[in-house]
């Protein structure tokens, strides 16, 4: 597991024809995944502020590498959005090495499924170590 660096969590969302590209920076892989979750929630909630409610729930995902973990993590959240109309907004993510992650998340149930994001792709997917933490990039199919 990587040590926690000094980079404050940050994301940027850029749109392009039929996709959204999220760029991320954070002090650790866990913080990067939490920031990716917040970026996805921003898209799913279309920028409207909303407070989490209800119990914390536990999510687990695994992948062959750190970048794959980023895509898997977001795909799990997309799946919950579509099938349960549930959007996660608060995250406590604990990576177990670079191939698995356990997270406690809280969020909210919407009246209608947040349909904009359909999948996180492997296209241009990356997670890199940088001074003070990690950076990442993922393209979402919309």
């Amino acid at each position: 597991m990587m040590s926690v660096g000094s980079i404050a969590p940050w994301h940027d969302i850029a749109d392009h024809t039929s996709e959204l590209r999220i760029r991320l920076r954070a002090g650790s892989l866990g913080e990067l995944l939490a920031e990716a979750g917040r970026a996805l929630a921003e898209i799913q909630l279309r920028g409207t502020a909303a407070a989490a409610s209800g119990d914390w729930r536990r999510l687990e995902v695994s992948a062959p590498d750190r970048a794959g973990l980023l895509a898997e993590w977001l795909n799990e959240l997309v799946y919950l959005g579509e099938t349960e109309r549930w959007v996660a907004t608060e995250f406590a993510v604990e990576p177990a090495g670079t191939r698995a992650v356990t997270a406690r998340v809280r969020g909210m149930t919407l009246e209608r499924a947040p349909g904009l994001v359909k999948a996180a792709t492997l296209h241009g997917l990356r997670v890199d170590e940088v001074p003070g933490g990690v950076s990442g990039e993922v393209v979402l199919d919309i």
């Binding site: 024809t17 992948a63 795909n75 099938t83 209608r112 359909k118 999948a119 492997l122 393209v139």
Partner: protein
Amino acid sequence: MTSLTANYPAIVVTPLLREIPVTARSDMRVPVRIYADEELWRQIVDDRSLEQAVNVATLPGVTGCVYAMPDVHEGYGFPVGGVAATRAGDGVISPGGVGYDINCGVRLLATGLEAEAARPRLEAAVHDLSRSIPSGPGRNPWLDLSGPDLDRVLQDGCRYLVERELALPEDITVTEASGSLPEADPAQVSEKAKRRGHDQLGTIGSGNHFVEVQVVDQVFDAAAAYGLTRGQLTVLIHTGSRGLGHQVCTDYVRRMDQVMADYGIHLPDRQLACAPLSSPDGKAYFAAMCAAANFAWSNRQAITHSVRKVFARAFGEAGRLRLVYDVAHNIAKLERHGNELLCVHRKGATRAFGPAHPETPERYRAIGQPVFIPGSMGTASYVLAGTDAGLALSFGSACQGAAKRARTGAEVRHELEAKGIIVRCPSSGELAEEAPTAYKDVERVVDVVHRAGLARKVARLRPVGVIKG
């Protein structure tokens, strides 16, 4: 960006065809051929679609040429508007070569109504369509499928919908593959995918999907017009396999990404993840993809059922709708080309078989398979006929539509309404995303397809009402 043309110098074969030779990059196995005129070529080199087509040309077992249609644009791994065939015996199958929306496609319905005669009741009918067909992330309240019923849809596609009286027997005679690929296996579709799709049959979804009421405003070839006449009211349905297809793609891209190295496959783009078609992983994806394709044909068929009910309410017997054809544009199919059995990946590309092909429906044997090229929302769509020559030119393929070029501003609703088009869309943001000016010029795209001999122009359809996903 000019570097792409510098990196991949293209030979001008004809004024409408360029070729990137197999020698352009050391890992290419076949050349890349691009159908475009000068203006479309300038747009094509503006994104990464050529680089992606070159990447596709490195796939194990790829044969002939990789083709880029005139509307080609950057996708995930494969370019959208790309066609690539791999040998069934020793080639690969790639979920990225089909895309997330498996069997996204188009079907055209024809009424017996003159648009002018229908005009007094048209606005009410469009609003009724909007109420009757869930769009956006909506679910279908009247068709929630339990486990066995969903598996029947996945296994048998439109044939099952005939049993459920959601399709007419004659509908499946004019649906690509009769709306049912026999290689489908519901057991290869994950529970997650089934959970995403169980209540989505008969829904439009979001993105660039729509149901459009149109009028035939030009017929180029009356003898080959599939019964379409000028002034006739038609309905075009554009959607796919919804969340179920997306989950199948997500599941198998992940699986192939994990096993690719075991097969000794190393590719320049991770999203091209693939496995030999003959391997357990390849066979499982193909069976799941066929099941998702059956779901997509059934989705368009269930929407057709809703449209028929609305038109019967609005126009009575005159509103009876005949299915002209239904064609996929995100799919991999096993096809015999010459003496070889090939797996033809069409991503954002339409099958366009000519009159002589045995898979062209009996009633269209004198004309060729219908090909539909939807324009962007608010612009004309085209009906074309496949050609026998197209088999040698592009594995019998034509383009999908007026591909996206760039995003536009937000006053689309007013622009469309100013053109007299009735608009029903829950989100102005998504309406803006699908603005006509965000797309390449459909007239130019169709002109290249026609002049290159991939398909022949038959008729043009002008929108008069739009239900946007």
